[in-house]
Each structure stands twice: as structure tokens, then as C-alpha cells.
């Protein structure tokens, strides 16, 4: 079991890595271009007049990354990696939380820069670094002297073994400083840093990169004009995270390469978390990986979840227990090998077909089946798609498409089908091609057709969102009035064929035998893990301890307070009944009453006014536990009172 899990998860991460690299490629290329440009300006610092006249601006890239802060880390890591490979070994990543003052910032900056120097020079001047580590003089001048020395060193050692790496870098590589989260830096630190470094820009070729989550306006808000005039800012926009997500879904879920699939509900949970909560692709991927883990952990059949070729092999080697499991799922064991393979093939077919259907529906007005392919995918997973109203209406619309659109769509479908290597679709694509040729023939024939048909075609071309109803009516009339033209006949035929394909292949996963092998469908587990509700959980634990402790004695009977519950639960329940300010003495009274209720026999002993010391101690402990959990806090408004912190009292 573990090895097939590993194969699966490795494949997944490999796939993701590739996707991410591809997505960031464009952005990173732009940035690298910018950096090299800014550098070349520095290089050809001649005695040219304009250069003398302009005061040096620090080249700055403003990188707008969107609000999904958790994803930024990956982007920046990729960025600094690429920079180190292609442009300069000197890259420093600064985070706001490390730099509360200019002093810390300089320290951090120098530390990072000098460390990457060590990596390059492979510990040859360790002693000198050791000295400076202790009493580092964190100022720009020492940074400059360091830079000078490094430059000299690389110049002298170019003929050495590092020929390759140093030839990729330029003679005097720029120093890149990346501010990861521009918003969180304090204004003063940034201002000071920029002012200082602008004074030394001639000696130290500095390039800044601002990571911005919200909007570039933040630069103007953080920096006054006197400072921002020292910068030469260029803007770079990263891919929107929604696009990012849909690419990942396309590549990961809507392909046949990757055997593991998630069910409709699970996908819905993941997408909802993404759209409603954090926009974080990183979290989406983590959730997806959690699905894989959960699937392999809880589903015994998951051993069969692998590439098609391996499936047969593994199916043969199934143990008796596993066979029993399968039989429980009402599958005849002698059929299993066949079915499994057929099943996997069917799923592949299904995905490809849904792509085709997407090609069809995405060009229809109003997007009855959703704009994004993932919506369509969800719909297909959920239930029989041909029973939905949306499907009905989209077919209706498809029956009214004009010829050029229809032909292009058919061509697209054929392309998709051809690109998928499966043998099963040969027949389908043949059929579609046939349709295409028929259309071509029709075109030749139509030139000789009478005017009425032409006019009708024009009518159909006008079919857009607003004239929809009108056209429908007209069409009905025309249909009633005259016989269907050849073109219309053909169109109906095509649409019907597509419809039959859909009915044949796009069966919801639940109806399939052995869908458990590849589909993960327990959304509730996932929701519990990913979208935790700490407040609710805490409330349940304290209000209804039976839920977690599974102790029969604790089973609650409605609203009453059982005295067998832990002390903290009793105190919590009592405090729920109070207002914003709670009198401690009253609370203690109530507490002791509840606790004493059990020890009925020696009630007369407790009837004395004095509360028992043990009960008092237990109460105090419960109270302090509640305070620790953040339900109450000591109040200064009244003596002997505590304030309630949770809302909903009153």
C-alpha cells in the first residue's frame, strides 16, 4: 500500500512543480529582462551628458502579486533562484517582520549578502567572515567595501574552474534586494534605506524589488515624493490566482495522466475554500494532497489507483481479503480485471468528452453550463448532466448555431479527440469528420440554393443574447412554414449525435462500478480538516462533553447541568447564563449547588453557609482555565466581577 501512495503523491508534486514553473515563466522572464536592462545602464556609465544630468535613480520593480500571500513565498523562492542562476549571485530577501528598524534591516541584508558570498567562494576566506560576524559594522560603507573586494576577487578568478558560472554573471553583478511584503514595512525604514542607498548607487549597483499584495498605490502611500523620486519604478503583474487555479485544475484533474480523482463534493469544498476564503493556490494544493492521503488511508481499494498499465498487474496480485472487499461492492470477482480496466478507460473518455462538450457550451451565449470548464466538470460529476435544465437549454442553443461556428467547433472537437491517444474514440472522430465533409458538400450545394434559405441563414447569424427569444419564435414559425433545409437537418443530426455521446459517456461517477478505486468522495472529512471551526468545537466540548469524552454518564438530558461533567464544563454552562459582567460570588454559589447536588446523602453537612474548601479550589481552577481559554477576563469596573469576552451573552 505505501508504495503506490508514494508513486501517486510523487507524481502529483512533480506535475504541480512543472505547472508552477510554466506559469511563472512569463513573469520571471520579464523581471530578468528588466534587471539586465537596469544593469546595462549602469555598465555604460559613460561621460555622456544625459547621464551626468540625471541623478541616479534606483531601478525598482514593483511586483503585484495579489492578495494570496501564502503563495508569494514560492514565487519569491523561484525568483531568487533564477536570479542567482542568471544574473547575480547577490540576492537578499527581506521580510518586514525581521526589519523593525533600519539597523536590523542593514544587519539582515549584509548577513544574507555575505553568506551567498561564502557559498560562491566555498569557504576560502572563512576567518575573515568569522571576524566580521562578531563585530559587523552595519553601514553602507562597509557594504560597499565588501562589494568592491568581491568584485575584485571574481575578476581575478575568472580563468579558474568557475569559468562557467562567472561568465553567466556580468562583470559587476547588481545587488538585488527583494522586499517580500512591502505593505508591512514601516515607512521610516523604507525611506531611510532608499535615501541611503541612493547616495551610493554609483558605487553599489542596487536593484530593489517590492512585493506588493494589494495595489501599487501603496508605494505612494508609504513613500513621500522626495523619496519616491529616487526610484525608477516599473510595474510587473503576476498571473491572477483564479487563472492559476483553473490551469492547475485543468492540468491535474482533467487529464487522464493522473489516476487519482476527486468527487464532486470534495472538489466543491476545495474550490469554495479557495474562492471564499484565501485565494491561495498553495492551500488548494495542500488540500488536494490531503485528499490523496485520506484516500489511500481509508479506502482499501485504493491499491488499484494507478496507471492503467499497472492496474492489471496489481489486480492479479490482489489478496483474498481485498477480493472480498470488492465482492462486497457487488462486483463479480471474475469480472474484476476487465471491469477495472474498462472503468479507467471510461473515465478517460469522460474527461475528453467533457472537454468536447466544453468546447460546445463555452461558445454559447449566457454560458448555461458555466463559463469555466471546472464548473462543467462539477456538474458532470454530480448527477446525470442530461437531466438538468441547463443542458436542455444549451442543446436548444446548439441547434441554432450558424454554420461557421458549428464547423469550427467540430474541428476543435476532432482535434481534441485526435490528440487523445485512446483507440475508443477513433469511431467518434471518424463520425465527426464525416459530418465535416457533409458540411463542406453542403456549402457547395448551398450556393445554388434559393434566396429564402440565405435570408434565413442571416437571421440565424444574428442570434445573440437579446434577440434570442425573438429568433426562437421566428424559427418556430419558419419551421412550421416550410420544410427543413438540408443544413438544418444536418445540424440536428450533429447535435443529436453529441447528445447521444454525452448520454453514453458522461455518466456520473457514482453510478459506475468500482468508482471507489479512483474517486475520493468524503467531503465531510476534508471540510473538518481544512475548514476547522475552533469556536464551535470548543463550545461543543464544553457544552456537551459527551461528544468528545464518549462517557455514557455524561450523556446530557436537554438543558440540565450534570454534576458528573468536568468542573470546567459546569462553570462554562453556568457562565453562559450570565450577562457581560459576572459576579464571582454568585457564580461560586451556583457552582457549588450543582456539584453538591450529587452528594445528596450528606447534604446536611454541606448546608452550612461555608462553601467547602475543595469545592472552592475546584471552582477557582475552573475559572482560571476559562480565563486561559479566553472566555473571561478580570474586570476593573466592579470588584469581584469578571467580564465575559465571548459574544452572545446579554
Amino acid at each position: 500500500m505505501p508504495w503506490c501512495f508514494h508513486i501517486c503523491i510523487d507524481e502529483c508534486s512533480l506535475c504541480l512543480q512543472k505547472i508552477q514553473e510554466d506559469l511563472n515563466k512569463q513573469l520571471l522572464e520579464n523581471l530578468v529582462g528588466f534587471l539586465s536592462r537596469s544593469h546595462s545602464d549602469f555598465q555604460e556609465k559613460t561621460t555622456e551628458w544625459t547621464c551626468r544630468m540625471k541623478f541616479r535613480e534606483i531601478p525598482t520593480a514593483a511586483l503585484v502579486l495579489g492578495v494570496n500571500v501564502t503563495d508569494h513565498d514560492l514565487t519569491f523562492r523561484g525568483l531568487s533562484g533564477i536570479l542567482q542562476d542568471n544574473i547575480t549571485p547577490y540576492v537578499a530577501l527581506l521580510e518586514a517582520k525581521d526589519c523593525p528598524g533600519i539597523k536590523n534591516l542593514m544587519q539582515k541584508l549584509m548577513g544574507q549578502l555575505m553568506k551567498c558570498d561564502i557559498d560562491v567562494d566555498s569557504l576560502e576566506d572563512e576567518d575573515c567572515v568569522q571576524v566580521s560576524q562578531n563585530r559587523i559594522r552595519c553601514s553602507m560603507s562597509s557594504l560597499i567595501s565588501w562589494y568592491e573586494s568581491v568584485k575584485k576577487k571574481t575578476d581575478s578568478e575568472t580563468p579558474s574552474k568557475k569559468r562557467n558560472s562567472s561568465s553567466r554573471h556580468w562583470q559587476s553583478p547588481p545587488v538585488v534586494v527583494i522586499f517580500k511584503d512591502m505593505e508591512s514595512f514601516t515607512t521610516k525604514v523604507l525611506q531611510d534605506f532608499i535615501v541611503i542607498s541612493s547616495q551610493h548607487i554609483h558605487e553599489l549597483p542596487l536593484v530593489l524589488i517590492f512585493g506588493i499584495a494589494t495595489s501599487p498605490m501603496i508605494i505612494h502611500r508609504l513613500l513621500p515624493h522626495s523619496v519616491s523620486s529616487l526610484l525608477c519604478i516599473e510595474l510587473f503583474q503576476s498571473l491572477s490566482c483564479k487563472e492559476h487555479l483553473s490551469t492547475i485544475i485543468d492540468k491535474l484533474l482533467l487529464t487522464s495522466q493522473f489516476p487519482f480523482k476527486v468527487g464532486e463534493k470534495v472538489l466543491q469544498v476545495l474550490i469554495n475554500i479557495f474562492l471564499y476564503h484565501d485565494f491561495s493556490v498553495q492551500n488548494f494544493i495542500k488540500g488536494f494532497q490531503l485528499c490523496i492521503v485520506e484516500h489511500f488511508y481509508s479506502q482499501p481499494l485504493s491499491v488499484l489507483c494507478c496507471q492503467l498499465v499497472d492496474t492489471k498487474k496489481r489486480a492479479c496480485s490482489l489478496s483474498h481479503d481485498q477480493c472480498e472487499n470488492i465482492r462486497k461492492l457487488q462486483v463479480l470477482s471474475w469480472l474484476k480485471r476487465l471491469k477495472v480496466s474498462v472503468n479507467v478507460v471510461l473515465i478517460t473518455l469522460k474527461i475528453i468528452l467533457s472537454l468536447c462538450l466544453h468546447v460546445f457550451t463555452s461558445s454559447l451565449p449566457k454560458y448555461p453550463l458555466g463559463k469555466q470548464i471546472r464548473e462543467l466538470h462539477c456538474a458532470c460529476l454530480e448527477n446525470r448532466v442530461w437531466e438538468t435544465e441547463e443542458y436542455e437549454s444549451s442543446l436548444q442553443l446548439a441547434r441554432m448555431l450558424n454554420k461557421t461556428d458549428l464547423v469550427t467547433m467540430l474541428q476543435q472537437c476532432v482535434e481534441i479527440l485526435m490528440s487523445s491517444s485512446g483507440k475508443e474514440f477513433d469511431k467518434t472522430s471518424e463520425k465527426l469528420k464525416e459530418f465535416l465533409t457533409q458540411f463542406q458538400n453542403l456549402e457547395e450545394a448551398s450556393q445554388e440554393q434559393d434566396m429564402s434559405v440565405l435570408s434565413q441563414k442571416e437571421l440565424q447569424k444574428k442570434t445573440d443574447l437579446y434577440h434570442l427569444q425573438k429568433t426562437l419564435l421566428e424559427l418556430k414559425e419558419s419551421r412550421r412554414s416550410k420544410k427543413l433545409t438540408k443544413f438544418e437537418m444536418l445540424r440536428f443530426e450533429v447535435v443529436d449525435y453529441i447528445d447521444s455521446l454525452v448520454r453514453k459517456y458522461l455518466i456520473p461517477a457514482d453510478d459506475r462500478t468500482l468508482h471507489e478505486v479512483v474517486y475520493f468522495n468524503t467531503a465531510s472529512v476534508l471540510r473538518e480538516h481544512l475548514n476547522a471551526a475552533p469556536r464551535t468545537a470548543l463550545h461543543t466540548a464544553l457544552n456537551n462533553p459527551h461528544w468528545y469524552l464518549k462517557n455514557q454518564a455524561l450523556k446530557c438530558d436537554g438543558g440540565g447541568i450534570s454534576n458528573k461533567a468536568p468542573d470546567i464544563c459546569i462553570a462554562y454552562k453556568l457562565h453562559l447564563e450570565c450577562g457581560r459582567l459576572i459576579n464571582l460570588v454568585d457564580w461560586l454559589e451556583a457552582f457549588s449547588t450543582v456539584v453538591m447536588a450529587a452528594e445528596e446523602p450528606n447534604a446536611d453537612a454541606a448546608s452550612s453557609d461555608q462553601v467547602d474548601d475543595t469545592i472552592h479550589a475546584r471552582f477557582i481552577r475552573a475559572i482560571s482555565e476559562l480565563e486561559l481559554l479566553g472566555f473571561i477576563k478580570p474586570s476593573k469596573q466592579k470588584t469581584d466581577h469578571v467580564a465575559r469576552l465571548t459574544w452572545g451573552g446579554c
Binding site: 536592462r37 537596469s38 545602464d41 551628458w49 544625459t50 544630468m53 541623478f55 535613480e57 514593483a62 503585484v64 495579489g66 492578495v67 500571500v69 533600519i102 539597523k103 563585530r135 559594522r137 552595519c138 553601514s139 511584503d181 505593505e183 508591512s184 531611510d192 547616495q199 499584495a213 494589494t214 495595489s215 501599487p216 498605490m217 508605494i219 505612494h220 519616491s228 523620486s229 526610484l231 525608477c232 519604478i233 516599473e234 510595474l235 503583474q237 491572477s240 490566482c241 483564479k242 475554500i273 479557495f274 474562492l275 471564499y276 476564503h277 484565501d278 485565494f279 475548514n531 476547522a532 471551526a533 475552533p534 469556536r535 464551535t536 479566553g630 477576563k633 469576552l645 465571548t646 459574544w647
Partner: protein, 402 residues
Amino acid sequence: ITNYSVQRQHFSFPSIFIYGHTSSGKTYVMQTLLSTLQLPHVFVNCVEYFTSRLLLEEILIKLQSCSGTEQTSPVRCDSLNDFVRLFKQAVASQELQDQTLYIVLDRAEQLREMEANILPAFLRLQELTDTNVTVVLLSEIVWELFRPNTGCFEPFTIYFPDYSIGHLQKILTQNHPPEYSADFYAAYINILLGVFYMVCRDLKELRHLAALNFAKYCEPVVRGEANERDTRKLWKNIEPHLKKAMQTVYLREISSSQWERLQHDGGEPGQLKGLSAHTHVELPYYSKFLLIAAYLASYNPVRTDKRFFLKHHGKIRKTNFMKKHEKTSNHLLGPKPFPLDRLLAILYSIVDERVAPTANIFSQITSLVTLQLLSMVGQNDQLDGPRYKCTVSLDFIRAVAR
């Protein structure tokens, strides 16, 4: 440029305070003066050496190197006492007693933020070290703002007034490009100042702008459509261009290198969107609602909550005793802090479906704080009852709410 040839060689006043607006030539005058007269001097920028220790050590290092002795041993100087001692040593070792040593502290307003004894000590350094030294402070603000409340030695103050338009023109014309005549360039500067003088008197900035746009100005001459005397034609050519530059480059909406490239290609700046064009921020669904809820909580008084967000709030009693200041718009008063629970309560009431108080919601609040859309008020009790403020504007909220 040295309109102010101050004759300062012979007197050694303990400290001189020079102030004037940005780029009125203070630093430049001091530097040229000291170097042309070959006076021993130390020039230090106080922003760069942000702690007193760094500042003092830097002065000592510069002092060591300025007289040519090449032994820049690591100096260690933790307090002013050490500084005075080491300073005396340095001066004695380099035979500087017979002439006045100048220490120039640029951007001296930073000194106020260092330890309290730094500024007074620098002002009477002559007395403390018993050497012939003058401390020159350069600053953009007046001396009155410097004076510590414990009292100190009053320096000799000199004011550098702003350049007038005539001065600016003269200075800018002085470094004209070698390929063109001074007159031609002067005409260009004239036009440039006509456009920019209203908004910008900063010499540095003007120089920068002049350099950026000069190529465009020369274009007709290069093409041979006009000669250098044809000022009117040139003016017609450049004026709209300069105006465009004022709207974009000056405000740093687009960077100067982008501007240059644009000039090169001859394209329209309309294609290049400035920084402020990208104001739209995409937020997750619940973040939007959280932000809106925060905005409502910040700008609405607590007592109206019941009225706005409860379905059956009962009849609104007319309050006759509404005070006058409450009628002023809440937007003028700025956002007010609100507790977390109120934020959540409003959130529950403005979102249609049921919202579970999940960990994701709470983490979203924190991430809004890091994005500086909300800000936390009162750092001390984060656990007990965090209070927030909404820091975004009405326009932003409108865009989000759409």
C-alpha cells in the same frame, strides 16, 4: 553657483548651523568650499549612519584617512567620552592643531533622534576637545526645532534662501550639452521652467526632467525641420509633450526609463498604464464581506447597529436631543475602533447564507491586517479583546462592494 561666497576661513566659531529648503545648494556649497580651499574636513551624512556609535566611528575613520595615514584600524567608540578622547588623539597625531578642522554633518535633523547628549556635545565640541574644530550642521528645518529643552550652546545660523526662477535658469543653463550652444539650451530651459515651475522648484528634479525631455526637444533640429533659432516652432513641438511628462514622470506614475523608451518608440503614453491605474484589488469572497463589515463598524456608531442589521427592530424613536456634532459626517472624523465580536456580528448579518466561524475567517482578518486594509488598535490585549480599525476609503469599499 556659489552665490554665497561666505568668507569663513579665518573665524572658528564652535558650530555653524546652515538651513534652507531642499536643494538650495547647502551641501554643494559646503563641499566645494571646503575642497577648493583645501581645508581639512570630515563630511558625514547623518541618515546613513543611523546610530550614534556608527556616526562617531565614521567620523574617526574619515579623520584618519583624510590626512593620508593609511592605517584604518577598526575603531571602537561606544560613547561620547571615548569619542572626545580618540578625537584628541587623532588630531594630535596628524598635526592638525594649527588649522581649523571642519566636521560637516549633513541632514542634521537626524541628530535629534539619537541620544540626548549628542547634539549639545557636537555644538560645543571645540570646548570639549580643546582643539580648533568647527562643526557645521546642514539641515532643512529651522534651528528653533532643534533646540533641546535643557538648553545648549547657540550656533551661528546661516539661512540659504530658495533659488528664484532666474537663479534656477542660470544654474540649469550652466551645464548644457556640448553638442548644442548655450543659447539654444537656455531657450529650452526657459520653456521647461514655464511648464514645471508652478509645481516643482527642486533643482535636482528639474535637472532630471530637463535631461529626460531634451532629446524630444532636439528632434526637429535633428530631422532638419527647424534650425536652432526657430524657437516658436520648437515650443509648439515640445509643449504638449512636457505637459504629459508633468502628469506622468514627475509623479513617478511611470518610470523614467520607461518614458525614455516611449520617446524612442514614439508611442503614446496611453498604452502604458501608470501605477495608480491598477487600483483594483481582488479579494476572496468572505474577505470582501469582512472588509465591508469592518467599514460599517468603523463609520457607524454602535447604537445604530440594531436599527440597521436587525430585521424586527421596532419603531425608531425620534431623538430630539441629537447633538450637533453628531450630525457632522462620520467620514470627517475618521474610522473608529471596534471590537472583534461586533465585526463578526455585522458579518453574519450582511452575508446571506450561514457563515460558520471557522479558523479560515479568523485568519482572513489577520491577513487583512497584514495587507494594511485593517489595522489593529491597542496591541496589548490581543487575546482578550482585539480591536480593529478599517483603514480603507469609501471609494475602495465601493469598488469592493460592487
